[in-house]
Symmetry: C2
Subunit: 444 residues, 2 copies
């Protein structure tokens, strides 16, 4: 599958320790060197320990936009690059750094497709405490979230959107690199994140890319400045690769929406696709949706973008497309028509407010961990009925004993440990806090 290139004529292979030393001393890799590194990772010629030292040196010394673009390009070319040229519609993808309660991708793929923008959405690496959108989809009986490359392309042609696990043929070097980064504490490297995102998304056939960079206690990026830097890095490198890219830096200091859990979040997705649902999610779906239709050229102005997105949410086209997508992937779409079919938890219990006051801060990561504990079994499978709903958000006023959220669970034995997480997540204060700013910055 891999694209083989002619080795550049005059490139003399340097030793790997020389290449590590070069980066250690803040040197800039040439395009040939980056190709050689990527090829050597793919061919398993670069020993693990030298790769580990190299990426740690990259963590400290960074990479220029040129280096990052070259790395993204080489990683992309390490596997199949999906050719969607036969689909004449614009092909825009969306990437998020991941957040608790974030179901916007599940909404945006059918929404964009209904607006005439193809969304080839492959879901990559799992973040440790965040429920993947694939796990959420898997609460729909029968659905296949592991399409083959052939079926993926077929579905894109027929339905214009698909959400599936990333195929092994896509950017295999990224898989190797990502696993190594996990084991060596090099996940938060700006150029390596940038190259990872761009390589995968562009290999998946996207012409343009809308990126949601989340910052806060429910993201792996805890720091706003770092989130802004990542957004700028992806945009700069994406441009130097001649792709249209827009990034929004958004808040992840509380769960998005009112639910966390697999089927509970699918139900919220359905609400959103009807133009309903909680305000924060509605706002972010609208903002990201507008970027997608504008990038795809379906709308010429901000105003028309807003009209198109709202129309497709109101007239049922987006929801219709979601059903179509679920059906195409083998899922039982009657669950979408009638969300009451989803299984319900044996127990539903409130998390009582320990005192009166305003919700001052919520640690979204803690809530995610609490939900994981209740809903994920030792094999990594989720109980679809389990999760939390009616989450009180930052700024809400509560009286002592009033519910901060409703906890849906089946396993009583785990409740106490989960409650520890959920309780710790809330801080109440006597004064109303400033409302969080949902979209902090737009980078284009």
């Amino acid at each position: 599958m891999r694209k083989k290139f002619i080795t550049p004529r005059k490139f003399i292979k340097p030793s790997f320790s020389f290449l590590i030393e070069k980066k250690r001393d803040s040197g800039e890799y040439t395009k040939d060197e980056i190709r050689y590194i990527s090829d050597s990772i793919l061919d398993k010629e670069l020993p693990d320990y030298q790769l580990a030292a190299m990426i740690m040196a990259i963590f400290f010394q960074g990479m220029s936009a040129m280096e990052t673009a070259a790395l993204a390009e080489e990683i992309m070319l390490s596997g199949d690059v999906i050719d969607l040229a036969k689909i004449t519609k614009p092909k825009i993808d969306k990437y998020t750094t991941g957040g608790v309660g974030d179901k916007t991708s599940l909404v945006l793929a059918p929404l964009a497709a209904s607006c005439g923008v193809v969304m080839p959405m492959m879901v990559g690496h799992d973040e440790d405490f965040i429920i993947s959108n694939l796990s959420k989809l898997e609460s729909i009986p029968g659905i296949n979230t592991q399409l083959s490359l052939k079926d993926f392309i077929k579905q894109l042609k027929a339905v214009n959107c698909a959400i599936t696990r990333q195929c092994d043929e896509i950017a295999p070097v990224d898989n190797i690199l990502y696993k190594m980064r996990q084991k060596t504490a090099v996940i938060p490297s700006l150029p390596l994140i940038t190259a990872s995102v761009l390589s995968r998304k562009l290999a998946q056939g996207a012409e343009g890319l809308v990126i949601d960079v989340k910052w806060g206690n429910g993201s792996f990026i805890k720091d706003l400045e770092q989130a802004k830097q990542l957004a700028r890095s992806v945009i700069r490198v994406g441009r130097s690769m001649k792709r249209r890219c827009v990034a929004l830096v958004t808040d992840m200091n509380q769960p998005l929406g009112d639910t966390v859990g697999t089927a509970l979040e699918i139900k919220e997705t359905i609400d959103l696709l009807k133009g309903e649902g909680p305000e924060d999610l509605k706002e972010i779906v609208l903002k990201l949706g507008m970027e997608i239709v504008r990038l795809g050229g379906v709308a010429g102005s901000t105003l028309s973008a807003k009209q198109i997105v709202n129309r497709h949410l109101q007239n049922g086209k987006a929801l219709e497309k979601f059903k179509e997508m679920v059906k195409a992937q083998g899922g039982d779409s009657s669950y979408i028509e009638n969300p009451d079919k989803f299984p319900k938890a044996k127990f539903i219990k409130k998390l009582p407010a320990p005192k009166r006051g305003y919700v001052h801060t919520i640690n979204a990561g803690m809530i995610a961990r609490g939900v994981q504990l209740l809903s994920k079994d030792s094999k990594g499978n989720y109980d679809p009925a389990v999760g939390v709903s009616e989450i009180c958000k930052v700024g809400a006023q509560v009286k002592q004993g009033e519910p901060l959220m409703m906890i849906h669970y089946n396993n009583e034995a785990k409740l106490d440990s989960a409650l520890d997480y959920l309780r710790t997540a809330y801080r109440l204060a006597p004064k109303r806090p400033n409302p969080p700013q949902l979209v902090v910055e737009r980078v284009a």
Copy 2:
């Protein structure tokens, strides 16, 4: 062989990726953590790639004196610690970072022993372009440079000095770490060098340590500031380990002495042991020798130290001790009595000065590489007859065509490539340069 310790009561083993992250974010390891890391290296429980990432993070973030001392201690304790308590004389070791033409250790071991200071000298890692003192000794027929631990101790008791390859039983964690540092471009890490030197030297039974930190183009430390830092680091950490240590920072911007090569350097060693030989070597032997006898408590003042060292060079006692040591290690000591017995090269050719002038700079590293090319075969064995002699030093005045050095060689085919190195090593200038300062700094 390894000393097993009781695991501290309340130490909960952290994950290795947590430990990498801690150092990445400039955290300070606790003593327990350092013991756990060292134990995990020894037990091969710390995977290569995580070790690589960890030492690269250490390269960038450094280690405190406390951490470095703890690491040195743990590495030392990872193997045998030689107990020389039965030898009542003071036991002082010498360590050099390595330099071209540096044969001072070969002089100092017998000199110190003749003055009443025991020198347990084990030679560790090879520097890539520098001829190891063991290779020089091996030009003496019959000599054994790989003593067993038992024979090493026996010889120290009988002769009071020995020069041998470091036994495998000594600081095994250091061997693993050093090999990893070589492959991952982490050799020049101040705390890791410091811990390596101290762990090995103290495991070899030394009570005190004299360190020669060389800086310049013939050392792996090219920068004077870095050399000073290393000297201070070793002294600081050595002290916190309650050992007597002195460091000299010395010049390595030209070869030491007039010869580079195995048997040629042994001949120069013999000259020095007679109180003769080139001035720079005489000076540094005297300076280091004085530190050794003072540290060993044999001399109370600088003046008496100088007198003792000079006396033992003049009265033949030091040379006698060298013969004794060679004999004890199975070598043919008649070569020491009559150095003319060493084989001579088939060809001896001058390196002519390309113009008149003063020797302005010499790249010692280039000379070392030229000599390596001529004298070392593909198996890594040296031809004892080969090398360079009568090296013109910085400040010397030459006329065009006069010899900058004499080249002794047996293999004509390699001469041209070697000449490339040797010629490039010299820069001549019309004005006399300032003489280099041999001992730049003393740290105690």
